[in-house]
């Protein structure tokens, strides 16, 4: 069976370029240069792991995001790294020829395939709000999950429920960890997740043959351990008390902080301000709109996207709101006031488990 390295060589890529690629992969995964040989070794020797990618109630934004990946390229992932044996959005076969593949892979690669889930199952109406092959999607999901080696929850639908689970959640759309309870699930939230985060998670699993280190909510720490606010390029304006007050005002044109027009960066754990979007081209804040918090549980039901942060439902991972911008506290009055507003709101909301959230995440 061909390996990724062989494929790259055949494409005329030199060993030197291959190693460069490996070091880029290491960087995008947040790994030290010492890991490069390990990545290279894995790429040179491993056969392709079967991936069965199921779609429940969703909008397909996760698949669209996945194919935007620049490093590695989606085509290299699909042709050379994994064997994407089932994905109803991309596969050539349809009907019973498509369904036959599921059974074949599940039998042939029992306990060795990765199940990737985009979307979620609705439980109302006996599950028939999402019908596949005449049957409820939930049946298919549980069936394929049974013998999976690992399960990835792509995006906020599979991870938290997302838009169809927003109040009043009419279909009872349910995140997959609530219906698959006997296996660890890697949550890769976001609506959608960042393309290179998606391929980064897959590449990590193939390279190291293990599940990435997860936080208490099941998210890979390498991409979800810091708030967007923590690494935002507009952070100095927050600390300096320089805010956009209205759309297209002078401050908006100078790229000041969007906190006052509703930015959810201070409570959103994601890599948007570091990895950025579409090959590092930009991210929502850089393009002038506040973060809407799309990788957070229940972000649809936390008030308007334009309300200044008030009812914050933030689980502390390594810091709580008291520590946000703590270094600037006492230096700039406005920033202190802003922090205080966040902190007061957080305490009011959390009070009982506020201390608990101070504890570092363990897994």
């Amino acid at each position: 069976m061909e390996t990724f390295y062989e494929v790259m060589r055949r494409k005329g890529i030199s060993r030197r370029s291959f190693l460069k690629y490996c070091s880029l992969t290491a960087t995008s995964l947040g790994l030290a240069p010492s890991f490069v040989p390990q990545i290279a070794h894995a790429m040179e020797n491993k056969p392709r792991t079967p991936v069965l990618w199921l779609h429940g109630l969703e909008c397909t934004c996760c698949t669209e995001s996945f194919i935007r990946s620049a490093h590695p390229l989606a085509k290299d992932v699909v042709l050379s790294m994994i064997s994407l044996d089932y994905d109803d959005t991309l596969m050539a076969a349809a009907g019973h020829q498509a369904e036959a593949i599921l059974e074949e892979i599940m039998t042939k690669y029992k306990g060795q395939y990765i199940l990737a889930v985009e979307g979620n199952p609705p439980l109302n109406e006996d599950g028939m709000f999402c019908i596949q092959s005449g049957k409820p999607f939930i049946e298919k999901l549980k069936h394929v999950a049974k013998d999976a080696k690992a399960i990835i929850a792509w995006g906020s639908c599979a991870s938290w429920g997302c838009v169809q689970a927003a109040k009043p959640n009419p279909t009872q759309a349910t995140p997959i960890h609530k219906v698959i309870t006997d296996k660890p699930i890697i949550k890769v939230p976001g609506c959608p997740p960042i393309p290179e985060v998606m391929t980064g998670v897959i590449t990590y699993m193939l390279t190291f043959d293990r599940v990435p280190e997860l936080d208490r909510q099941g998210r890979p720490k390498m991409f979800y351990s810091q708030r967007i606010h923590d690494k935002c390029y507009r952070r100095p304006h927050f600390d300096a008390g320089q805010f956009v007050e209205a759309w297209d005002d002078e401050s908006a044109r100078k790229g000041y902080c969007l906190y006052k027009v509703g930015c959810k960066g201070p409570t959103t754990y994601n890599a948007c301000s570091t990895v950025q979007w579409n090959e590092g081209t930009s991210f929502p804040i850089k393009a002038g709109h506040g973060c809407i918090g799309c990788s957070e549980d229940g972000f649809w039901d936390k008030g308007s996207f334009y309300d200044r942060l008030t009812d914050i439902h933030a689980f502390g991972i390594e810091a709580n709101a008291d520590q946000i911008g703590g270094t600037a506290a006492g230096v700039v009055g406005a920033a202190v006031a802003a922090h205080a507003a966040i902190s007061v709101a957080k305490r009011a909301r959390d009070n009982s488990n506020a201390r608990k959230s101070d504890a570092p995440a363990s897994h």
């Binding site: 109630l57 009907g95 169809q164 930009s282």
Partner: protein, 619 residues
């Protein structure tokens, strides 16, 4: 139920029944059943939307300024078009006019989506209906290179070595025994008629397009911060402009960002001219020569669109793809379409899993009722409530409603827009002459230029014969992509000109504060979404959404029968198509995919447990 006549089709469900479920390579979940006669010709077609999410219900009571983000998540493939329809509906309700710069930026975002969505659809969702991947292995790379240079002399990636590399990579892939997304495909079927060299050329472009599409969407990333699902704003766009003032380097739009956008637009123009259009013309020509001119369905008679791409903001007479309705194939008579008129756009539920008081009547979206009624039944239904084996089209059989225009079933989409554009241009409309030029040039290529170059006999099909076919639907989409890229460059130049003239405004915030709004308001927003005409209807009361309804392209095209037994566009398009091998539903997939079905879009309306979730009465 025996045979019956409707819209010029004879529906006969007595022959052998075939089920395709899931229909893959679409957005969302869909099922299709057909009956074949003894010659394996499709004599009855049944299309079913098999998913439902309920966003309109979720929107009730929320801030209208947030609605764009919710409805944008109706679909991540046509990402942004529901958001655009939403901000337009809210602005219409509140009488907000956006600045010219905001209009141009939104236009560029909409056209970027058009190019991206169309190309990804053709190469990654549709191509495998025309192109035999395994046949590529038999191709001569040198002849492939010659073919490439013949159909597209200016495309730089055309050397024999280039095609040999791709072929070798595919060979190894196939030899690995792990075929991934190509497993169990219909390779070797006689329904594929391209020579190996054309197959290799197309598969090579499948990979090229996959690499390039991620570049084009960066226009969304610049203006909207990310893709999929860029950000929008009621009243304008969130990306402020700062060309040469303090802080320009950190501003959303500056000189570097504008240059970046211009480069992406040029890439889209080049890809359309050098790859997408030549591929579709070549594939269309070869399938036409093989006599495969099926799939026209309703396009031969009834088409509709609201009109789009106005040259002058808010002046609908300047649409560069003008709207209207054509009935009975009469291209000389274009009916005006008005989304506000309660008599025009109406939805029926006679054969949908919903309940109305009187199911012989349709309801305008401002007067819509959504009451779930999941109950698969009928004398021909086979299976159980949670294990459907065969649906009965004489009863309710889909989660999709049946929208009709003045009671007529119509087809929507790029083909409908191109038929309308051609008709308008023929009548002298100066804003869409490019449409006629594109269609006429394509007809020359398909009828004579390409057949001559390929050593095949020439043909003399008129535009009116070529367009209403599966090939024509796929061609119209490619032409629209080309046209959108060209118009986008015009928008870009106009934006630069406007900034040069001193206007850097991007948002109108006069009515941002809900305190400035009337107590009650209602509005409509329309968009030429990639799959066809899209409308969002909103009612606002006391600063909150009182009701929200969307009627989307795949609802029109994928609709089940109505109370008169009239079939929708998907069903009509399959009628009378012969199948090479009923075990391999290639022809069904080819024609259904030519519509680019989007089921998450079509079936987002819902309620639970038989409770009425939305009711609106016209004031």
């Amino acid at each position: 139920m025996g045979a019956y006549e409707t819209q010029g089709f004879r529906m006969d469900n007595t022959g052998r029944r075939i089920v395709v479920d899931p229909v893959t390579r679409i957005e969302g979940h869909m099922r299709c059943e057909v009956n074949l006669d003894s010659n394996n010709v499709i004599r009855n077609a049944v299309s079913t939307g098999t998913m439902w999410r309920g966003l309109e219900v979720i929107l009730k009571g929320r801030d209208p300024r947030d609605a764009w983000a919710f409805v944008e998540r109706i679909c991540g493939v046509c990402t942004g078009c529901h958001a655009l329809a939403s901000v337009r509906a809210v602005e219409d309700a509140l009488d907000i006019r956006i600045p010219l710069n905001a209009h141009l930026i939104r236009e560029m975002m909409a056209k970027t989506l058009q190019v991206h969505d169309h190309a990804v659809h053709f190469y990654h969702l549709h191509a495998l209906d025309w192109v035999d991947v395994v046949s590529c292995l038999k191709a001569d790379p040198k002849k492939t290179s010659e073919l490439q240079q013949m159909v597209s002399p200016s495309h730089p990636l055309s050397s024999p070595g280039y095609f040999r590399d791709v072929q070798n990579r595919l060979k190894k892939f196939v030899e690995s025994g792990q075929l991934g997304p190509f497993a169990n495909g219909y390779w070797g079927s006689k329904a594929y008629v391209l020579p190996p060299e054309a197959n290799l050329m197309a598969v090579t472009h499948y990979l090229e397009a996959l690499d390039l599409q991620k570049e084009w969407v960066k226009v969304h990333t610049i203006f909207g911060g990310k893709n999929p699902h860029p950000n929008y704003l009621v009243g304008g766009v969130p990306c402020a402009i700062n060309i040469d003032g303090n802080g320009a380097a950190g501003a959303p739009i500056n000189m570097e960002r504008l240059n970046f956008v211009q480069a992406r637009i040029q890439e889209m123009i080049d890809f359309n001219n050098n790859v997408y259009i030549p591929d579709v013309l070549a594939i269309g020509t070869i399938y036409k020569q093989a006599g495969w001119l099926y799939g026209g369905g309703l396009a031969a008679t009834n088409v509709a669109d609201y009109g789009t791409y106005e040259k002058v903001p808010y002046d609908h007479s300047t649409h560069q793809l003008p709207g209207g309705v054509i009935l009975n194939g009469d291209w000389n008579k274009i009916h005006e379409i008005d989304p506000r008129d309660p008599e025009q756009v109406q939805e029926f539920v006679t054969h949908s899993w919903y309940k109305y008081g009187d199911e012989t009547k349709g309801l305008h979206p401002w007067d819509g009722i959504t009451e779930a009624n999941y109950n698969p039944e009928g004398p021909n239904f086979k299976g159980t409530r949670t294990k459907i084996e065969q649906l009965d089209e004489s009863a309710k059989y889909s989660w999709i409603k049946s929208p009709r225009w003045r009671g007529h079933a119509v087809e929507v989409g790029p083909l409908s827009r191109y038929i309308l554009g051609y008709a308008h241009a023929t009548q002298g409309n100066k804003y869409c002459q490019r449409v006629k030029q594109q269609v006429d040039e394509a007809a020359v290529a398909i009828n004579s230029a390409l057949p001559k170059a390929l050593g095949m006999p020439e043909t003399k099909y008129s535009a009116k014969q070529l367009l209403p076919t599966t090939i024509g639907r796929t061609l119209a989409r490619a032409l629209e992509s080309q046209y959108a890229a060209e118009m986008m460059m015009d928008d870009f130049k106009q934006l630069i000109g406007n900034i040069k003239a001193g206007d850097t405004s991007t948002a109108n915030i006069e009515k941002w504060d809900p305190a400035t709004w009337p107590k009650e308001a209602k509005g409509v927003g329309t968009v030429a979404a990639p799959r066809g005409m899209l409308g969002h209807w909103i009612r606002i009361k006391d600063g909150r959404i009182e009701n929200y309804q969307c009627v989307v392209p795949t609802t029109w095209n994928g609709s089940p029968r109505d109370h008169k037994g009239q079939i929708g566009a998907f069903e009509a398009s399959l009628m009378n198509t012969p199948m090479v091998n009923p075990e391999q539903p290639l022809e069904i997939l080819r024609t259904l995919h030519s519509f680019d079905p989007c089921l998450a879009c079509s079936t987002h309306v819902m309620s639970e447990d038989g409770q009425e979730m939305s009711r609106v009465t016209v004031r």
